[in-house]
């Protein structure tokens, strides 16, 4: 850029000088010397100012681009740091439990204490395994090829509803599955297991973050171009200030602190949906006490 400016200035100087000598040739009768000098210098300075302006604009643009790159890098660094901080926190909890349990085991005096210790240790180990498993799923999503085959969404959703209700923690809970009455629901092209995981995580979340008496509904409908899968609950809802953040990796809302989870469930759902060309949105108004609705839109498979 600097060279450009020097060369450009020299070229302008040459044009100015040329003008000075060309004026008597092109301009008859020949004007006076001072006039020739004035026109030559005038053209030179006009072009020179122009060049300076261009140079300033270009430099400013470079500076702006650099600033925004820096900002992106800074933001990425920040989110990376935040991720590590949260990960550190999430891993430390079960580890602390495990260490405490080991101390108890070392000092245990009765079989009962030993049995309790083994149980606690197993639980902490499972929790660590769960977090690592989710981290792995997230990283696999970035690198692994997703399958690209027709998926029967109705069948998959109902499979996931019964899988979630099977968990001992959710025994007796009722999840209503509503499928809109169309002759044949179109299928979605994609990865059956990954989509299943996304539906499961939403249903499991709804079960975890509501009380026994809350109702949960899973609705499947279509509008010709897309399929909509909604998971609605009548629970306490999500505070507005948290709604934008719950899709962040390892983010745990205020209400979520005491509920078991890796903090990676929703980010996984979001990534899976995006990789399938879809969208996820959420509506929740805790002030009105109307619960939460997560809605996934997936493009329907085009026939023919």
């Amino acid at each position: 850029m600097k060279h450009f400016f020097i060369i450009f200035s020299l070229v302008l100087l040459a044009i100015g000088a040329l003008t000075f000598y060309l004026i008597p040739v092109l301009w008859q009768p020949e004007p006076v010397y001072v006039f020739r000098l004035g026109v030559g210098a005038g053209i030179f300075s006009i072009l020179f100012v122009l060049a300076v302006l261009i140079q300033i604009v270009l430099a400013a643009r470079d500076w702006g681009a650099e600033q925004s790159t820096r900002k992106v890098v800074r933001e990425r660094d920040e989110s990376h740091r935040q991720f590590l901080r949260r990960l550190d926190h999430e891993l430390k909890n079960p580890l602390t439990g495990l260490q405490a349990t080991l101390t108890n085991l070392r000092e245990a005096e009765s079989d009962e204490e030993i049995q309790q210790g083994v149980e606690n240790a197993t639980q902490a180990a499972n929790r660590l395994g769960h977090i690592l498993g989710d981290l792995r799923k997230l990283s696999e999503l970035e690198y692994q090829m997703l399958e690209h085959r027709p998926v029967d969404i109705e069948q998959l959703v109902s499979e996931m509803v019964s899988a979630a209700c099977c968990l001992p923690a959710h025994r007796g809970r009722n999840v209503k599955l509503l499928v809109s009455k169309v002759p044949v629901l179109p299928s979605v092209l994609g990865d059956r297991d990954m989509l299943g995981l996304a539906f499961y995580n939403l249903i499991d979340n709804a079960l975890k973050f509501t009380t026994f008496d809350d109702a949960i509904e899973v609705r499947v409908r279509e509008d010709g171009r897309s399929l909509f899968i909604e998971v609605a609950d009548s629970g306490a809802g999500i505070p507005p200030q948290e709604q934008g953040r719950i899709f962040e990796d390892l983010y745990r809302g205020e209400n979520a602190q005491e509920i078991e989870g890796s903090g990676l469930g929703l980010p996984l759902v979001r990534r899976i949906v995006i990789l399938h060309g879809g969208e996820i949105s959420l509506r929740s108004d805790p002030a009105q006490g109307r619960g939460t609705i997560f809605s996934i839109r997936l493009p329907a498979e085009r026939k023919g």
């Binding site: 769960h130 692994q144 297991d193």
Partner: protein, 238 residues
């Protein structure tokens, strides 16, 4: 075979070695240990163990390289690779280097023991080479593991990658009952919420493609409450 088979356990993590060694000894093995790849290679050559459990990520020489060199040197010692990453590529690589089986970390000690016993049983019956052969056939079915393709009567089967992986594992472990949990861990690599039902879905797809009737199967038999078993005789193709 000796009364107490000798097993070489190679892992650079001391806690894994100290926890597994007494467990495997209780289970009736004589256990040798190595904490890096070079050590593992040397101990295999000098002690000729009956079986190796080899971690992939190790200092000085990784598990793959150890295995490659052993096979190059003509040593066919049955080997289980302990992998960290569960993706299909990683597994295909493990097979290319001649591992007889693989297990994703973290695993249950009993799971490892079951694998060790299965691999030893297979190696004694001379079937170990199936898991290191690229092209296999059973009746009219052929599978090409490198091309990830299966044909039936010359027709290429339309199988999802996961269904193919299930078929691949079953056909390389014939006459062995493979539990749904085992398939889930092998093919998916991570715990899956709908669990073993997912395996059944793929099995349904696979059977449909093979035209196999579950009540009178030619290829894959369901053993109620236990898992699946590949029952057709398997041949190795050049």
């Amino acid at each position: 075979m000796k009364d107490r088979p000798t097993l070489l356990l190679a892992d650079d993590d001391a806690t894994i070695i100290t926890a597994l060694t007494p467990f495997l000894e209780r289970a009736g093995f004589h256990v040798l240990t190595a904490t890096n790849g070079k050590d593992a290679l040397e101990k295999t050559q000098s002690h000729r163990p009956d079986m190796i459990v080899l971690d992939v990520l190790m200092p000085r020489m990784d598990g793959r390289e150890v295995l490659r060199r052993l096979r190059h040197a003509g040593l066919q010692t049955p080997t289980i690779l302990l992998t960290q990453v569960g993706d299909a590529l990683e597994r295909a690589l493990a097979l290319e280097e001649g591992a007889d089986d693989y297990l994703n970390k973290p695993f249950e000690s009993h799971e490892l023991l079951a694998r060790i016993r299965a691999v030893l049983r297979r190696s004694q019956s001379g079937q170990a080479s199936l898991s290191t052969t690229w092209r296999l056939a059973a009746h009219d079915l052929t599978i090409d593991r490198r091309a990830r393709r299966a044909t039936l009567n010359g027709q290429v089967l339309d199988l999802s990658p996961k269904a193919f992986a299930v078929l691949e594992y079953l056909i390389t472990h014939p006459d062995e009952v493979i539990s749904r949990e085992r398939l889930l861990q092998l093919v998916w690599g991570w715990e899956y919420p709908a669990g073993t039902r997912t395996v059944d879905t793929r099995m349904f797809e696979l059977r449909k493609a093979l035209g196999d009737d579950p009540s009178d199967p030619t290829f894959i038999e369901t053993q109620a409450g236990e898992g699946y078993c590949f029952i057709a005789p398997v041949r190795m193709l050049p």
